[in-house]
Every structure is written in C-alpha cells, then in structure tokens.
C-alpha cells in the first residue's frame, strides 16, 4: 500500500514538473504556427526591417523596425537608469547598511516590486509625463524617456535583490583577506567584492532587462505609441508589447494583421529567450 502511494505521488510530481515545459512548448508551437503565416504575404526581411507599420491599410504595410527600435530604446534607457542605482543599492544593503536600515530597505524594495504596472503607468501619466514635457521643453511628454524612467522602477527590485544575493554569497574569507592586506572598506567593495560577484550581478541586470522588455501596460500608457523610427529618447515611440496589446482585440482572426501580431510575439519570445539564457549562463558560471 505504501509503495503504491509513494509511486502515485512520485508520478504526480513528475507530471507537474513536466507540465511547465509542456506548456512552454505548446505556446511556442502555437505562436510559430500562427506567426509564420504572415510570411506568406510579407518577406521576413521586409517584416523585420520595414519602416512603416500601417496594419489596417489596403494593402497592409507590416514593417516592425520602428517597433523593435522603440522597444530597444525604452529598454536601453531603463537599463542606463536602473543598473547604476540598482547595483549601488545592492552594495549598500549587502555591505554598508546597519541591520535596521537594511531590513527597511529590503521591505521597501519588495513593496516596489509589488506595485502593479498599470498603477505605475497611471502615476507616470499624471506626474512624470507633464514633468518631462516642461523640463525638456517638448511638445509632448509622452516619450521614450518617460517610459524608461517608469520601467527603471520596475527593473530595480529584480536587480537589487539578485545582485544583493550575489554579493552576499561571496565567501567571507575574500573580505577578511582584503582587510588583512590593509584595504579600506571601499577598496574592498570595489576591488574584491564586486569582481567576485560580477557574474551574479550581470545575471541580475539581464533579468531586470528581461522584465523591462516584456512590460506592456505602463509603456502603452506613457510612451505615446507612435510608430516612428526614434531619432532621440525625447520622442514618442511604440513598443512591440504595446502594439500587440493595443491591436489584438480587434484584429480580424486569420487576417495578415492577426498573423503579424503573432509574429511580433515570436520576435519578443526570441528576445526574452536570449536574455534569459544569457542570465542563466552567468548565474551558473558562479558555481
């Protein structure tokens, strides 16, 4: 009896374990099946590097270069803002902060991660967008920069908690050795701890970026959604995610537009897959 019970439970857990992989494969197959149909009407080159996105015109123009560049620009901006702040925050929490402040900071960062993106988007729309407009004397505050700033807030919790973890797992003897050689606290952090934890920090950054590039709601609300090739960070952009979210609802099932949106899904899938694999490689290098 016990043996049977054991066997059943074991197999059940196995099924649960395989389920996630199974779902990923199913999703990928579905995306591929629907998305690849678009290439019957537009070549992959024209799809990826076409400069105009007019999906409902006759004939539709399905070039997603402005969307890819929009996504990359917003992500790059968010990375530039969130990486220095996030890593510095992790260093402070892991190395410098007294226990009490450390606890408060960690709780605060967890709280930041818990804010729904639509709320951040809304706050950005009423506070950040007018500020960007007046500060940079722009015709509109719905720009890539506004998106980058809000997304930086979203990437920070991921970056801080994983980078802090990486710093924490650097063997204590490294630090003691550095102190024994007469290094100051800052020298120890800068010359010993950061290099020792570098692979973990890179992984933290990659996962933070992964979160940013897949984010939809907040960017849709504050980046203006204009499908132009951006010339600077102070102009409106349209991201891949926002395009899918905004247009999928009304795209006629089976139309070129519908397939094109799935193809955008494939592009996003590939981008986040690359980011996750890179993060994984760095994480495992550590061990």
């Amino acid at each position: 009896m016990r043996k049977i019970k054991e066997f059943v439970i074991e197999k059940l857990i196995l099924v649960c374990g395989l389920a996630s992989i199974f779902f990923v494969i199913l999703i990928f197959l579905f995306l591929t099946k629907e998305g690849l149909s678009v290439f019957k009407s537009v070549s992959p080159f024209n799809f990826l590097f076409g400069k105009s996105w007019y999906p409902i015109s006759e004939p539709p123009q399905l070039g997603i270069l402005p969307l890819i560049l929009g996504s990359l620009l917003v992500t790059l901006g968010a990375a530039i803002i969130s990486i220095p702040i996030g890593v510095a925050c992790a260093v402070y929490i892991a190395e410098i902060a007294p226990l009490k402040i450390k606890e408060i900071l960690k709780a605060g960062i967890e709280l930041l991660a818990a804010i729904p993106s639509v709320v951040l988007g809304f706050i950005g729309m009423v506070t950040l967008v007018p500020w960007v407009k007046t500060t940079f004397h722009l015709p509109t505050g719905l720009t890539a920069l506004s998106g980058s700033i809000i997304l930086a807030f979203m990437a920070m919790p991921t970056i801080v908690s994983i980078a802090e973890d990486a710093l924490y797992s650097v063997p204590k003897s490294y630090k003691e050795g550095a102190f024994a050689l007469g290094a100051t606290h800052w020298q120890t952090i800068y010359r010993v701890l950061l290099p020792a934890a570098s692979s973990g920090i890179v992984a933290a950054v990659m996962l933070g970026i992964g979160r940013v590039i897949g984010e939809t709601m907040a960017v849709m609300m504050i980046t203006g959604n204009a499908a132009v090739i951006p010339q600077s960070i102070l102009v409106p952009v349209r991201t891949l995610t926002a395009t899918i979210a905004a247009e999928m609802g009304e795209a006629v099932v089976g139309s070129e537009h519908y397939f094109a949106l799935f193809a955008i899904g494939i592009v996003l899938f590939i981008i986040s897959f690359i980011i996750n694999v890179t993060a994984d490689l760095f994480l495992h290098k550590r061990h």
């Binding site: 015709p139 509109t140 505050g141 719905l142």
Partner: protein, 284 residues
C-alpha cells in the same frame, strides 16, 4: 461547482443552435463595427423588455452585414454607409429588396486645448495636419509650435472613419495615411485628457466626449464654406462636415418581430441609448 458548470455548458451547446436557426422569435443583426456597441445596447434592453425574443448582434463591417442580408443569413444589416448600387442590383437578383432606415448620426469632434488660439479649420487643413504635411500651428493661424497629433488606435472604427473621410476626403482609392509621428492612444478618454493638459495637441473623438477642458474646433468643408461647430443641431441639419448617418437595412419594409425591434430602436428609449453610446439621435 464543476458539475454545475458542465450542466450550463451542455445547456448552451443544445440551445445555441436552436437560437441560431430560423426561429421566429430570433433576429440576426450583422454589420458595421462602429455600430456594434449601439446594436448590442439596443438588443440587451429590447430583450429585457421582451423576454421571449432573442436578438443576436455581430460585427464584421458594413459590407459584411449587407452581403449577409443579400444572401439571407441575417435579418437586419447595420451599415455606417449607404448601400451601393452594385449591392442593390445584386440583392435584386436574389429577390431581396433592401429597405433603408436611418437610425442615428455619428458626429466626430476635432478638439484642441482651450489655450490654443486656433478655433476653426477647413477639412483640407485637417487632412494636412493629420497626414503630417502641416506640422506647425503657425501654418493654420496659431502660435509658433509643433503640432502634436493624437489619434485613436488602429482597432478603432473612429480611426478608420477619420482616415477615410478626412485624410482621404471620402476617396475610397486614397493613399493618405496618418503621419507616422501621430500618437496613438487607446481610448477617447485618453485623448480628452491629453488635449486638456497639453496646448500643442489636436485630437478627435465622438461628440459625447467634449467637455469644458477641451475646445472643439469649428470645421468648414472648404475655404469658401462657413465654419460649423460640432453640435447635435448641426449634425442633424447636415451642416457639420464630419458626420455620417448610421443605417439599418432590412429585406423589404420590416414586418413582425423585425418591425418591433426597428420601432424600438427609433422609440424615445431607443434614441436615448443612441445618446448613451455617443452617437447623435435622429429624433429628440
């Protein structure tokens, strides 16, 4: 819980085909995406009042609706344009006699920030602004400054209508597109908010969204015509250039159940629903 769900599912599976069939208590309505919300609102209230009747409303576009009427697969076609001669002759071949009923009007307001000195534009100027050939407010009598174009997302019927009737001026073979730099916002409310907060913007939406925080622009067909404000009166009289009638088409003069539904749409209550869904009623 699960069993209950299954039961309901089974019930649905068995009853839906019954409704879809040529039941004399059911009406099939099909057509214009612009009018789907209106049609559904009518259907809901109508079914509340007449519990025995069933009204199904689906979209697909005015053309789809009319071709379904012609092929006999729907009872009422919703259309945001007049039936074409080609469609009439096709219908005659099939022994269908399309009967036109005007049920509502659709007026689009073009709005700017109240601080913007520009208060009137011609359709020509609007087309220039929204296609991106006019980029500075100075060119249309305003202050020196870049024009920020606000548009609805491409999934919106309003977006399509504005493109066809303002940008392309009704020319079905037109090639004009919204300027790529136009900001695409996801709702009329989002456009209203952005216009209220930014003096460089210009946007458009159904007249229902106008408030004191935006200034509707008076529009003229061309430079010689008079400038007309978007108001229910001006849409009703046909003076306001960016408006269109919305129709229901039936096979011959409506009879029986179809007549009952059409009468409901034209009743005081039906026309109130027209106002609630941001269209202009044809009767006050």
């Amino acid at each position: 819980m699960f069993k209950k769900g299954l039961f309901i599912l089974a019930l649905l599976i068995f009853t839906v085909p019954a409704f879809a069939g040529k039941d004399k208590n059911s009406i099939q309505i099909k057509g214009s995406d612009t009018m789907v919300n209106l049609g559904q609102a009518w259907a809901e209230k109508y079914m509340e009042k007449n519990p025995g009747d069933f009204v199904a409303v689906t979209g697909g576009g005015s053309g789809t609706g009319l071709s379904s009427l012609i092929s006999g697969t729907c009872d009422i076609a919703m259309s945001s344009r007049n039936i074409k001669d080609k469609e009439i002759s096709l219908a005659e071949q099939k022994g269908i006699d399309p009967f036109e009923i005007k049920v509502a009007l659709d007026g689009l307001a073009v709005v700017v920030n109240p601080a913007n000195p520009v208060s009137k534009l011609t359709v020509e100027q609007l087309a220039g602004i929204f296609t991106g050939s006019i980029t500075n407010w100075k060119e249309v009598g305003g202050k020196d400054g870049k024009i920020v174009i606000l548009s609805r997302e491409v999934n919106s019927g309003t977006h399509v209508y504005f493109k066809e009737h303002v940008l392309r001026k009704g020319n079905a073979n037109g090639r004009e597109e919204f300027a790529p730099g136009a900001l695409l916002l996801s709702s009329s409310q989002a456009i209203a908010d952005e216009v209220a907060g930014n003096s460089a913007t210009i946007g458009y939406y159904g007249m229902g969204y106008i408030s004191s925080k935006q200034k509707p622009v008076a529009i003229a067909k061309d430079a010689k015509s008079e400038y007309v404000n978007p108001s229910i009166e001006n849409v009703l009289s046909g003076k306001y250039p960016i408006s269109r009638p919305l129709f229901l088409y039936t096979n011959g003069e409506p009879q029986g159940l179809i007549r009952k539904f059409v009468d409901y749409a034209l009743s005081k209550e039906g026309q109130d629903i027209v106002v609630k869904t941001d269209f202009v009623p044809i009767k006050k």
